[in-house]
Symmetry: C2
Subunit: 491 residues, 2 copies
């Protein structure tokens, strides 16, 4: 039988919680007096269903059942977890707790999404203070893993453990904040940056867009993978965290921010931080940390590139500007010698194309060949505009032979022959090289399709004409070794 | 002929600049009195060569020539760009500028890597102040694109334009800061967060590790793609930026950080920010921004997962914990019915596996099949421990047939048959389904290899025995349709 969560207060945050529980197989019972609550939660769920189940590599359990209820009493029936996400007014929250504690099981955990209130403020005056904790999430709740779990001495160890266990079972990260403080931890940073940003905008130093670029083109990407201290540990290099702090320490006296209420930079504080940093990251050398950082940065920037966004969009533009100089044609006229295989790719094996040993992984050979097919399509006139007008080529069949290995950081090139191009069919042959060394071959049969009907259909006449022209020019080349080969066939 | 850059001051920052120029085809001339400079720059270059050339999808130009010089005069010879990265002491920097301006071409750009000094402080007292600008980079300089280009009215428009053009040609992002200020823009945020973090550690609220988790499991990933204001615009939802600010405004009066020197939250400031935010992001609806954000978050978290790092490592652990319940075996004993095709994958198509239309892209079919092969290897005992001991299977040949389409967010399963497993060979057949709908087949021939010699070699006896056992159990199944098919062969 499914477990049950009660969501008190919908909206973006409550809806995000509902999605986390539902998509992890819990039944979810919602109370929200807003007549729009069902629609609003439905919108969050649409986004969540689109993104969360594919975040991992293993299917989530079958979705639980979502229901809406008219009273808190009914919503919390049978709930093992109650998540409160009502507006940030302490009197309102305390009223809600009084009501729900009259009906909820005494062993249920009640988590509050509050950003600002301390758990002791929520527990104050309650019958069972020990079951109330702060579980502060981050938007979008259905994707971001962080939950600040803030507790007080009134919370029995069993409640804290169960809270951690349930949060973890939802694929989230319970960060246990043992000493309560206004705004917990993360929002203190957000608030500090927000205050500084308000000054910058107010003083006319930067616009909101410039500030966002200053973040996402630089330290934002660093922080996505190492946070603040581990990043600085790496920056400090072999000289270590103490050395880094000695360099940065004096800035505390300088007007490097308008927020000047700074702690004193004592030896004691330096030792405390250096010691904690050793405990956190000391199992990895600076060189190992640097390489992990670079692997992460490359992987994330390339992920952004796939969405043509932020730092990834910048890189795409840089690539585009380099194509001609790198010898890549974009039209049939730009192909220097049609009688020879066409250069359809020239690149260096990226870090995210390789396994932990630095060898290019199997599926990236097809990634490379598919990109070469895309380039050939561009050359014959199957451009983004043409595709937007409703026609494209789909791959029906692929045959890859892995002939030799290649490593991250090594240059590869793909040369492409058209074996046959007539009517709806396009039969291509890719060869991947590092220098003169043949690494792999890719043989592909594509069909031109009508993107409306999703069925095969003839291409536009100019595209077929270009394809035929290349096929005829390539017909003079000797047949490639391995063409038409089946798996298991003798060589 | 290559262009020439002079690097004054090596180290991590100067070395990063040297790498950016070199790997983008510039000759680089270094002056650094440190006898260790060559070694230190060499280490940065090793990291840069490993990561930067594969960041994009198009090869960079041939690397330029790196040389080391004993005097500033010699280093700046023929330089179009001079990058100064000496220690952060104004007197030292001014001395360096005086010396290099005696030798550098008057139309060269001199960029300073300073984090703290304003360009007017560097220009003060110089013969040609107009060629000096701040070009403040972020570590690792060879990967992070942000350059804060800070100028003064003393800089002619031509110098500013040339600086932007050259920075862009290196694949970097010149953020032009027109109004100089201590610490420019990004470091003001870093400094604010650093100050707040020092308080949290000093007050015993959180350790360095807890602070890093609070960043990288939450807002750090958000900031890597949208920064501060666009993120909040999305959080505000359809009600808009003004609504968001009305909600957040009161927090400025609350002790949500120890940094209390806050600007007054006037209507004027709210209007200024809302207007700038509209100009920045108003071309996209909130729903479009939400989906772009989610695409980016999923892509980046999955990129981190590939490195088993941060939020991605958390997701991997969640996947691992779910395997059994999802019906995935990890040993031959766990396979429920050996006589049937083995379930080797059950997942939902991730957002980063699809094209802009939401269809699963070609190469991800092989990605899925390769992961199913990995699972089969695990089942027969080719475990990470076995692989670490020196043996593994490499794919020699692959044949994929694309039969039907599938979309992001849809569940897929892969079932696997062993066609033949004996000696060094493993011949497998994967079928990918959405429910009962066959999406694709993958036929693969693998060879067991000795990872030392990289040549084929027999597997350990228990592995061969398991493989034979499965092949024999599967021999009773009818031959799959399409087995042994070659491309272009009639059906």
């Amino acid at each position: 039988m499914n477990k049950t969560a009660a969501i008190i207060g919908g909206g973006v945050i409550g809806g995000g919680w509902a999605a986390r529980f539902l998509l992890n197989g819990w039944d979810v019972r919602v109370f929200d007096p807003d007549p729009e609550a069902e629609r609003k939660i439905g919108e969050v769920l649409d986004n969540a269903r689109r993104s969360l189940p594919g975040l991992g590599n293993v299917a989530l359990p079958a979705e639980g059942t979502l229901s809406f209820h008219d009273t808190v009493a009914e919503a919390v029936k049978g709930a093992e977890w109650v998540q409160e996400s009502v507006p940030e007014r302490l009197d309102l929250k305390q009223k809600v707790y009084a009501e729900l504690q009259a009906h909820v099981a005494s062993d249920a955990v009640i988590g509050s999404s509050t950003s600002g209130f301390k758990p002791s403020e929520l527990q104050d005056g309650r019958d069972v203070p020990g079951q109330i904790v702060v579980t502060h999430p981050f938007n979008p709740v259905y994707l971001l893993p962080l939950i600040e779990l803030v507790t007080t001495p009134a919370n029995p160890a069993g409640v804290v453990d169960r809270a951690k266990e349930i949060i973890s079972s939802l694929g989230m990260y319970p960060l246990h904040v043992k000493k309560e403080i206004d705004a917990h931890i993360a929002d203190r940073f957000l608030e500090a940056v927000w205050r500084e940003a308000l000054w910058l905008v107010k003083d006319g130093i930067a616009t909101t867009e410039e500030i966002d670029e200053a973040i996402r083109m630089g330290f934002g990407i660093r922080w996505a993978q190492m946070g603040l201290f581990e990043t600085y540990r790496v920056a400090g290099g072999e000289a270590g965290m103490k050395h880094f702090m000695a360099q940065f320490g004096p800035a505390l006296k300088w007007p490097w921010t308008k927020l000047m209420d700074v702690p004193e930079f004592t030896d004691e504080l330096v030792d405390l931080i250096a010691g904690q940093s050793d405990a956190q990251s000391g199992h990895l050398s600076i060189r190992e940390l640097e390489r992990a950082r670079d692997d992460n940065l490359v992987g994330m920037m390339r992920a952004l590139g796939a969405n043509n966004w932020g730092a990834g969009a910048l890189q795409n533009a840089h690539d585009k500007a380099r194509e001609g100089e790198a010898g890549l044609a974009s039209t049939i006229e730009e192909v220097a010698d049609l009688s020879q295989p066409i250069l359809t790719q020239t690149r260096v094996v990226p870090l995210d194309w390789t396994d932990y040993n630095g060898h290019m992984t199997e599926s990236r050979y097809l990634d490379a060949f598919a990109q070469s097919t895309d380039r050939l399509m561009l050359i014959i006139g199957c451009t983004p505009e043409y595709i937007a007008s409703g026609g494209s080529y789909f791959t029906a069949e692929t045959h890859i032979r892995h002939i030799d290995e290649v490593h991250a950081g090594h240059p590869i090139q793909v040369k492409t022959r058209v074996i046959m191009g007539a009517g709806k069919k396009m039969h291509v042959w890719h060869e991947m090289f590092e220098g003169d060394r043949l690494l792999a071959t890719g043989e592909h049969m594509l069909l031109h399709v009508d993107l409306e009907t999703r069925r095969s259909a003839p291409p536009a006449p100019h595209i077929e004409a270009n394809l035929v022209k290349i096929a005829e020019a390539h017909a003079g080349l000797p047949a490639p070794e391995g063409l038409g080969r089946a798996i298991g066939a003798p060589r």
